[in-house]
């Protein structure tokens, strides 16, 4: 007989679960399966049809993704639902990004979804339409609500990012058209999770400040996600209750936002918003000068007519006529005096500048000057000594008379 001590005792070294004596708990098994599953699968995109969708009181979403052969229980934690534009519809085909896992309490296979989208842009369109319908129900999309924009705004508030393309474009266009119009930036985040709240806060500041007579809210072009803040319902309601007329300018021509729908005017781009809001200064100056000239000629006609009637009355003689003649003479004198005072006004309206040569001669044509010539500019409140840089002739038939 050989020594019995070389035989091992296999039962004592049994792996967990290998024998009744080594049975493991349900919790141990499910925890192990969960670890193995989560380790074996990286986050994956899964395609399927949504069924049994339920939104729990605590904000989590529960549903199944299924196809002809299989079904998978899914959950979206409430903090992740904010990244998804709208809850999916029953039967909608979606793609969902998530992690395969195990729900230990029931031993169910569970797919924890981080984000999802309908095949196509179904969820975005649905969210947009839901918001639009709520605003419509409250009458905020009524065309009769739209206010006229001021003809010549003095101060325009611009609600956008301080370092975005939109601000740059609006400044450039405004400066080119009319340097009298003041722009006041009210900075706001225009993309990302905090953007709707930031834009709403900017609108609150605009309202409590009260210093502008027109507002532009918007941003330059970007992806659908970048522009999404402008589809926020709270923001739309703030825009609708803006105390002054407001232009919405979000992205490019093709991008329509909820903000566009409630604003008083929708600009296809921020540049166009400025084009539309700001009248060209030279046009205003021409209009004023032209009205001044028409007023002048109207007065001249009245003086001619008055003089003619005065001469008639004087020829007829008589006592009553004498007093009338005297009164008319005084009126004519007053009108002529006023008329005289008018011409410098019309000139001032064109820009308050008179250019004179060193000899003191008023320069009215580019023909009289050449690059390098000294030129004195007389302005409303002083004078400047300047030198001509370049000379360019402009053919402008509307600017012919002096």
């Amino acid at each position: 007989m050989m020594a019995p001590e070389r035989l091992p005792e296999p039962e004592l070294q049994a792996a967990p679960g290998e024998s009744p004596a080594a049975a493991i708990s349900v919790a141990t098994l499910t925890r192990t399966v969960k670890d193995v599953l989560e380790g074996a699968f990286p986050p994956l995109w899964v395609r399927g049809e949504v069924s049994d969708f339920k939104q729990h009181r605590n904000g989590h979403w529960y549903f199944s993704l299924r196809d002809e052969e299989a079904s998978l229980r899914c959950v979206v934690w409430s903090r992740d639902t904010r990244r998804i534009p709208a809850p999916p519809d029953e039967g909608m085909t979606v793609v969902a990004l998530g992690q395969v896992s195990l729900y230990a309490a029931r031993g169910d296979l569970q797919f924890t979804v981080k984000t999802m989208d309908a095949v196509g842009d179904g969820l975005w369109r649905k969210a947009f339409e839901l918001t639009r319908a709520r605003l419509e129900r409250d009458g905020l999309l009524d065309p009769a609500r739209k206010r006229a924009l001021p003809f010549f705004p003095r101060r325009i508030a611009v609600i956008t990012s301080a370092d975005g393309a939109a601000l740059h474009d609006i400044i450039a266009v405004t400066r080119r058209r009319n340097r009298l119009v003041e722009l006041v930036l009210i900075p706001a985040a225009v993309q990302g999770e905090g953007a709707p709240a930031s834009l709403c806060a900017a609108l609150d500041r605009l309202a409590s400040w009260g210093g502008a007579d027109l507002a532009i809210i918007g941003r330059g072009g970007g992806s659908r996600e970048d522009l999404w803040a402008f589809n926020d319902e709270q923001l739309a309601r703030k825009v609708a209750s803006c105390p002054i007329p407001i232009i919405s300018a979000v992205g490019h021509e093709v991008d329509i936002s909820i903000c566009d729908l409630v604003a008083d005017w929708r600009a296809p781009t921020p540049s166009v918003a400025a084009e539309h809001a700001v009248p060209v200064l030279a046009d205003l100056q021409r209009t004023v000068a032209s009205l001044g000239r028409q007023l002048q000629s109207g007065a001249a006609d009245a003086i001619r007519g008055g003089r003619r009637r005065l001469e008639q009355a004087a020829r007829q003689g008589g006592q009553g006529a004498r007093r009338l003649v005297e009164r008319r003479r005084l009126q004519l004198g007053r009108l002529s005096g006023q008329l005289h005072a008018l011409s410098p006004l019309a000139t001032m309206a064109r820009g308050y500048v008179v250019a004179t040569s060193p000899a003191g001669r008023v320069v009215t044509s580019v023909a009289a000057i050449a690059p390098g010539d000294p030129l004195q500019l007389r302005l409303r409140d002083g004078a400047a000594e300047t030198r001509v840089e370049t000379v360019r002739r402009i053919e402008d038939p509307t600017d012919g008379q002096g």
């Binding site: 001021p150 003809f151 010549f152 003095r154 101060r155 508030a157 301080a162 400044i171 340097r179 009298l180 119009v181 003041e182 722009l183 006041v184 930036l185 009210i186 900075p187 500041r205 605009l206 409590s208 400040w209 210093g211 007579d213 200064l281 205003l284 100056q285 209009t287 004023v288 009205l291 001044g292 028409q294 007023l295 000629s297 109207g298 007065a299 006609d301 009245a302 007519g305 008055g306 009637r309 008319r328 009126q331 004519l332 007053r334 009108l335 006023q338 008329l339 005072a341 008018l342 006004l345 019309a346 001032m348 309206a349 820009g351 308050y352 409303r380």
Partner: protein
């Protein structure tokens, strides 16, 4: 007050139309002309304002909002 420029232009156009229409009494012409001059002056002054800078709305320590020059 914000609409003065637009109102001045509208009124000026109406005045000019009336003055250049049928012959009007001298008293009326004088009154219209005087009114027209005052609108013309208001409109010209509006166009003669100083050039505006780009500003940014900031909130002071006491919570008052103020437009200050935008640096750069």
């Amino acid at each position: 007050m914000m609409a003065t420029f637009e109102q001045a232009l509208e009124r000026l156009e109406a005045i000019v139309d009336e003055m250049n229409g049928a012959e009007i009494p001298l008293e009326r012409a004088l009154a219209l002309f005087e009114e027209g001059i005052s609108h013309l002056r208001a409109a010209s002054e509006e166009l003669g304002r100083a050039e505006a800078a780009v500003k940014v709305l900031t909130e002071k320590a006491d919570g008052v909002l103020e437009a200050t020059d935008l640096g750069g």
